[in-house]
């Protein structure tokens, strides 16, 4: 089963994103971590056991504004890592600041969604960045 790593500090946002994934029929298991530091820990731990095999996520849904390590910092760290850079990253943010959008694409993000995100929009973006590996079942 395809895996999604959701990195989100706000419990309400976690719930909304999970509901959106469910409502759009995305067929994947979702692992949630609550800030950028945890996300990097999680990714690096799995890297030891050959990330691309069974353990690693197929796509990251990454909030931008988080305590300690921000989403943009996670993105930057991932995209400068030879193994982690292959995981597609979709940034999810409440902010409409264009500086974040520009930085995200400059550092190699595959997708960028501004909340509120419609379920279909989320599913379509996930399908696009994973090359159809994760798609909505309905």
């Amino acid at each position: 089963m395809a895996k999604i790593l959701l990195v989100e500090d706000n419990a309400r946002d976690v719930e909304i994103t999970l509901a959106n994934l469910r409502n759009s029929g995305v067929d994947a298991s979702v692992q949630v971590v609550r800030d950028g530091e945890q996300a990097l820990d999680y990714l690096h731990r799995r890297k030891e056991f050959a990330l691309r095999s069974a353990e690693g996520p197929d796509v990251l849904l990454l909030d931008v504004k988080m305590p300690k390590v921000s989403g943009l910092e996670v993105l930057r760290a991932m995209k400068s890592d030879p193994v982690l850079r292959n995981i597609p990253v979709i940034l999810l943010t409440s902010s409409r600041e264009e500086q974040d959008l520009a930085a995200a694409y400059q550092w190699g993000a595959e997708g960028y969604l501004i909340k509120p995100v419609r379920p279909e929009q989320l599913a379509a973006t996930i399908a696009a960045v994973t090359g159809g590996a994760i798609s909505a079942s309905r």
Binding site: R12, D13, I16, A19, K65, T93, S94, E97, K115, P116
Partner: protein, 360 residues
């Protein structure tokens, strides 16, 4: 008497101009009166200095500043040994204080004659002024940075709870609306609508607050394709459009797009109750600049309120009649002003409205 003003074109510097002295040069005649005794000179100097100190104490915490400039002037006059020089110095100090105290206009400083000391004093003064200007500029850029951080925080932290209200409201509606009575359903819908309005307001406000802070990229901009693009984005199928050729102006394309978008959105919104909505876009020349107008046959407005239209948050209709945040036309005005142009409106209740703007 000739005078030269230390003036600056920047608006921010203009607002600070009252803090920088205006220089007045006088070609005072020398040695008209016999030399004064040394004690007289010293006491005169002390009188001037204490007067300055007192005046500055009253007018603001700038004692060091005026002493710094005036002492060399007074000393210059003293060195020349002419009573005219003393008198001029004292008048200078008086003029400065009066200007500072009474009018808060440009500070005034007169120097008795153009000699080495006055020149030195003026160099020192200019140096000090530059330092103040630099300090002010640094403060301004610090404030701007804080504002940037503030708007970033507002953008995220104020939007997030509104989004949550909206999303959970919608989820709740989906789950339970079938089992709810009419009133409860309406309450729920109001929660979702209100959070949507809040989101729209936050977004508009942030965009408006950014207008002054974003750098303008000036280039030739053809307005016609922008109008076509915006029209295609609007839901205005029932509108009868009359689009005349529009000029190519020099300005920031994305900002001008916002102007066109706001004006067309308004025209569509306020004419939607007309039997046959009709919107005309065109341009003409007036006093050497191109005027672009957007005319609709909508609800219009009472001409006496036309100035209010362009003020932020001012609306002539309740949001029950016509939705909106009252920021659109303020945005139009701000953008047009940044281009050095002007915007105004003409309207008649029940007949329609015409909005004009010029881009020189």
């Amino acid at each position: 008497m000739t005078h030269c003003a230390v003036s600056n074109s920047e608006r921010y510097e203009r607002s600070h101009a009252s803090r920088y002295p205006l220089l007045l040069f006088s070609s005072g005649k020398r040695n008209l009166t016999p030399d004064m005794s040394r004690p007289t000179r010293v006491s005169l100097l002390l009188v001037v200095i204490s007067a300055m100190g007192w005046a500055d104490y009253v007018s603001g915490p700038d004692i060091g500043f005026s002493l710094f400039y005036l002492i060399p002037i007074v000393v210059a006059g003293w060195w020349e040994g002419s009573l005219a020089a003393y008198v001029t110095s004292v008048i200078a100090a008086g003029a400065w204080f009066t200007a500072d105290l009474l009018w808060r206009g440009p500070d005034t400083l007169a120097v008795s004659s153009w000699n080495g000391f006055t020149r030195l004093a003026i160099y020192l003064m200019i140096g000090q002024m530059m330092a103040r200007l630099r300090a002010d500029r640094e403060q301004l850029s610090r404030v701007n940075q804080e504002l940037e951080a503030f708007s970033y925080s507002v953008s995220h932290d104020l939007r997030a709870p509104l989004i949550h209200m909206r999303e959970f409201g919608e989820m709740l509606t989906q789950r339970v609306s079938g089992s709810l009575d009419e009133i409860s359903r309406r309450h729920l819908q109001n929660i979702v609508d209100a959070s949507n309005d809040g989101l729209e307001l936050v977004d508009d406000l942030l965009a408006f607050s950014k207008l002054d802070r974003t750098a303008m990229k000036r280039a030739p901009v053809d307005l016609s394709p922008i109008v076509e693009e915006v029209r295609s984005e609007l839901d205005a199928r029932s509108v009868n459009w009359l689009v005349n050729p529009l000029p190519v102006v020099t300005g920031d394309a994305s900002m001008l797009r916002v102007v066109i978008r706001n004006l067309l959105e308004n025209a569509v919104k306020y004419s939607r109750l007309a039997a046959q909505p009709r919107i005309e876009i065109g341009s003409f020349r007036l006093d050497g600049s191109q005027v672009v107008f957007v005319r609709d046959n909508g609800v219009g407005f009472d001409q006496q309120y036309s100035a209010k239209l362009f003020k932020v948050f001012e609306r002539l209709h309740s949001s029950d009649e016509f939705e909106g945040t009252g920021i659109g036309l303020a945005t139009v005005k701000r953008i047009v002003e940044r281009h050095g142009g002007r915007s105004w409106a003409e309207g008649r209740l029940g007949v329609g409205a015409t909005f004009y703007f010029t881009i020189p």
